[in-house]
C-alpha cells in the first residue's frame, strides 16, 4: 500500500486515529486556486489538535471540511475508522460538537433549550435531556437553577461561551470542532476560559480540533499543533514543545516568532525541573547553623523555614551578626513564592523581580519544596534543546528507514 502523506502528519502513537483526512482538497467554484490542497492528517483520539496559521491559510475551511459544512472537492474523511465522506451530512454533524467564535446561541431559546438541541434531534427522552442539561451546566461552572430558564441575551460573553461549549458536548459526541472560540472575548476572561477548558478536557477527554490564528493560544491548549501555510499545507505537525524548540523550517520559525524560547517556558512547570542548591534551614535553629549552611553553598542568602516548613525569612551573613533571635524575623520577607504547578515562564518573571534572583517553591499546603533560580531555568532550557535535537535526529533516521523500506 502506498503512503503518500508525509510522516509528520501521522499520529505518533500508532493507535487508530479518531479522524483521518486523506488527500482532502477543496476548490471553490470560480476560484482559480485551491483553498485546501491535498491535506492528509491524523487526529488522535482524546487529544486537542490545534490548526494554526495566518488568516487566509485555509484553517477554517479545513475545519468545515471535517463536518462537511463545506463539501470537499476530492479526498476522504474517516471518522472512527468509517469513511464518512458520503454519509448524510446532518447525521454526521450530530456526531461532532461545533463551537464558533460568535457562538451562535439561539436567542429565542432558553439556555436549557439551546443545550438540548442535538439531544432532541437524536430523540432522547425528556427526562434524560433535563438531567443532561443540568449536568452540563454544572460541568461548565454555571448553576442550573439560576441559568436553565434564562435567555442568551441575559448572559455575559464568558457565560455564553460556556453555554456554547456545553451545547457542543450535549449529546456526548466523540469529536468537538472549535473555530476561534475564545478570540472575541477580553484577554482576562479568555485566559480564564482557556484554563477552564483545559481542566474540562482533562475530565472529558474528547478529540478536539481547534482553529486559531494565535500561536500563544495554540501552544497553551494544543497537545499537538499543526502549523498551516497557504492552501492549508502542513508546515509542521508536532507537539508544541517540538514546534517551539525545533521549528521545521523558516516559515514555522517566522510564524512562531521571536518569543519562541520564552514561550517554551510556558510548557514546563516548576515541579518538572530540579531545584537549585540553596541553603535552607528549618527553625528552631541558631545563627551558627545558618552561617554553616551559607558557607558551603556559595549563595548570598539562606532561606529560613518555620516549624511547619513554610517559608519564613531570607537571611544573609550581615543579618546573622545582629543580636536578635532568628525567630524574631531578621532578614527580608520570604518572597517570591510560587506553587509547584506554576509554569517556568511565571517563575522566571518572579525571579527577575526578586532580590536574590531566586523563587521559593511550595506545595499545595504551603510547605517549602525548594528554591529555583536562573541557573535552574537555563539548565531546563538546555535539556529541552537537547531533547528536541534528539527528537529531530530520531525523526530523520525514521524517515530514512521509511524511504529505504518502501
Amino acid at each position: 500500500m502506498s503512503e503518500p502523506q508525509a510522516h509528520p502528519s501521522k499520529a505518533g502513537n500508532g493507535a487508530e486515529p479518531m479522524i483521518r483526512l486523506e488527500q482532502l482538497t477543496k476548490r471553490f467554484p470560480r476560484q482559480p486556486d485551491y483553498a485546501v490542497e491535498n491535506l492528509s492528517m491524523d487526529i488522535p483520539a482524546g487529544e486537542i489538535v490545534v490548526l494554526v496559521g495566518p488568516s487566509g491559510c485555509g484553517k477554517t475551511t479545513t475545519m468545515r471540511l471535517i463536518n462537511r459544512l463545506i463539501e470537499p472537492t476530492s479526498g476522504t474523511i474517516i471518522l472512527e475508522g468509517e469513511d464518512v465522506t458520503g454519509v448524510n451530512a446532518d447525521a454526521l454533524r450530530r456526531r461532532m460538537g461545533y463551537v464558533i467564535q460568535q457562538i451562535g446561541l439561539f436567542p429565542h431559546v432558553t439556555i436549557a433549550g439551546n443545550i438540548a438541541i442535538v439531544p432532541r434531534m437524536l430523540g432522547w427522552k425528556k427526562k434524560r435531556i433535563t438531567e443532561r442539561v443540568d449536568e452540563l451546566l454544572e460541568l461548565v461552572g454555571m448553576d442550573p437553577d439560576a441559568y436553565r430558564d434564562r435567555y442568551p441575551k441575559e448572559l455575559s460573553g464568558g457565560q455564553r461561551q460556556r453555554v456554547g461549549v456545553a451545547r457542543a458536548m450535549a449529546a456526548d459526541p466523540p469529536v468537538i470542532l472549535m473555530d476561534e472560540p475564545f478570540s472575541a472575548i477580553d484577554p482576562i476572561t479568555r485566559d480564564r476560559l482557556q484554563n477552564e477548558f483545559l481542566r474540562l478536557q482533562a475530565v472529558i477527554k474528547k478529540t478536539i480540533v481547534f482553529v486559531t490564528h494565535d500561536i500563544d493560544e495554540a501552544v497553551k491548549l494544543g497537545d499537538r499543533i499543526a502549523i498551516l501555510r497557504d492552501k492549508s499545507k502542513i508546515a509542521q505537525y508536532d507537539t508544541p514543545e517540538h514546534v517551539l524548540t525545533n521549528p521545521a523550517d523558516a516559515y514555522v520559525e517566522d510564524f512562531v516568532g521571536a518569543g519562541a524560547a520564552i514561550r517554551r517556558l510556558n510548557l514546563s512547570r516548576v515541579d518538572e525541573v530540579e531545584h537549585a542548591d540553596w541553603p535552607i534551614v528549618q527553625l528552631p535553629a541558631e545563627p551558627a547553623d545558618v552561617r554553616e549552611a551559607l558557607r558551603g553553598s556559595g549563595k548570598g542568602a539562606a532561606l529560613l523555614l518555620d516549624e511547619e516548613r513554610r517559608p519564613f525569612r531570607w537571611v544573609d551573613a550581615r543579618d546573622l551578626d545582629r543580636p536578635e533571635r532568628l525567630e524574631s524575623g531578621v532578614g527580608s520577607p520570604a518572597l517570591p513564592v510560587v506553587r509547584s504547578s506554576t509554569t517556568l515562564h511565571t517563575a522566571l518573571n518572579e525571579m527577575l523581580k526578586s532580590g536574590y534572583g531566586s523563587v521559593i517553591v511550595v506545595d499545595e499546603s504551603g510547605a517549602c519544596q525548594g528554591v529555583i533560580d536562573l541557573e535552574t531555568v537555563l539548565n531546563a532550557v538546555h535539556a529541552m534543546r537537547a531533547e528536541a535535537l534528539r527528537h529531530a535526529a530520531e525523526f530523520e533516521q525514521h524517515e530514512l528507514e521509511e524511504v529505504g523500506g518502501s
Binding site: 450530530r94 436567542p107 435567555y151
Partner: protein
C-alpha cells in the same frame, strides 16, 4: 337629527356593518399571510426572484382600489369575491417584504451553528429562522391590516360588505337628510376598527414572540 341621536338609533345597523367589515378584513389577512409567508420563504434566498415578487406585489399596491374592484367584476362578479381577491392583493407587499427582510436578517453565525449541529433545511427554517424573523413578519401583517381596513370601505362599490355601504350611500345624497351622519358613522367605524385590529395584532405579536427576543 344630531349625530349622537343618529348613533343611538342606528347602532345595531352600524355594529352589523362593522362585524361584516372586520370579517372580510380578517379573512383576507389570513389568506394574504399564508400566501405572503410562502412567497417570502420561497424567494428570500433567491435575489432575482425576490425582486420579481416584490416588484409585482408592489405594482398591486399602486393600482387605485376603485379601478381594481371594477376590473374584477367581469371575472368574479359582485360582492364578497372581488372584495377578498382585491384585499389579498393589497395586503401581500408588506407581508412578503417583511418576511424576506426578517429571514435575511437572521445572523449568519446562528445559521452556521444550526447547520453545524446537524439541523436540516426545514428544521432550520421552522425552528430557527422563522421564529427569529417572526417579529418582523408580524410588523408586516399589522401594516397590511391597517391598509385593508381602509380599502375595505371602498369595496362597497362592488356591493362588498362593510361600513363602506353607509359611507357611499351618504356621499350619494350629500345635502340630504342624514347624509353627513351616514358618512361620519361609517368613517368613524372604520377608524375604530383599525385601532381595534392594531391593538389585537400587537397582542398577538407579543404572545407569539419568544421572550428571548423582546427588548
Amino acid at each position: 337629527m344630531s349625530f349622537l341621536e343618529y348613533l343611538s338609533k342606528r347602532q345595531d345597523h352600524l355594529l352589523e356593518l362593522a362585524i361584516e367589515h372586520a370579517q372580510v378584513v380578517a379573512l383576507s389577512i389570513a389568506i394574504a399571510t399564508v400566501i405572503g409567508l410562502a412567497l417570502g420563504i420561497l424567494v428570500y434566498q433567491r435575489p432575482w426572484w425576490a425582486q420579481v415578487v416584490l416588484g409585482i406585489t408592489g405594482v398591486f399596491l399602486t393600482i387605485p382600489s376603485l379601478a381594481l374592484f371594477g376590473v374584477l367584476i367581469p371575472f368574479v362578479g359582485l360582492g364578497y369575491k372581488p372584495t377578498v381577491i382585491a384585499l389579498v392583493m393589497y395586503a401581500l407587499l408588506p407581508i412578503v417584504r417583511n418576511t424576506v427582510t426578517g429571514l435575511r436578517g437572521v445572523e449568519e453565525a446562528i445559521i452556521d451553528s444550526a447547520r453545524g449541529m446537524g439541523m436540516g433545511r426545514w428544521r432550520r427554517l421552522l425552528r430557527v429562522e422563522l421564529p427569529l424573523a417572526w417579529p418582523v413578519v408580524m410588523a408586516g401583517v399589522r401594516v397590511s391590516t391597517l391598509i385593508l381596513v381602509g380599502i375595505t370601505a371602498i369595496a362597497a362599490v362592488v356591493n362588498g360588505p362593510g361600513l363602506g355601504e353607509d359611507i357611499f350611500s351618504g356621499l350619494a345624497r350629500i345635502g340630504g337628510a342624514n347624509a353627513l351622519n351616514l358618512v361620519l358613522g361609517g368613517t368613524l367605524g372604520v377608524i375604530a376598527l383599525a385601532l381595534l385590529f392594531d391593538a389585537f395584532f400587537a397582542g398577538v405579536a407579543r404572545l407569539t414572540t419568544s421572550k428571548g427576543l423582546r427588548p
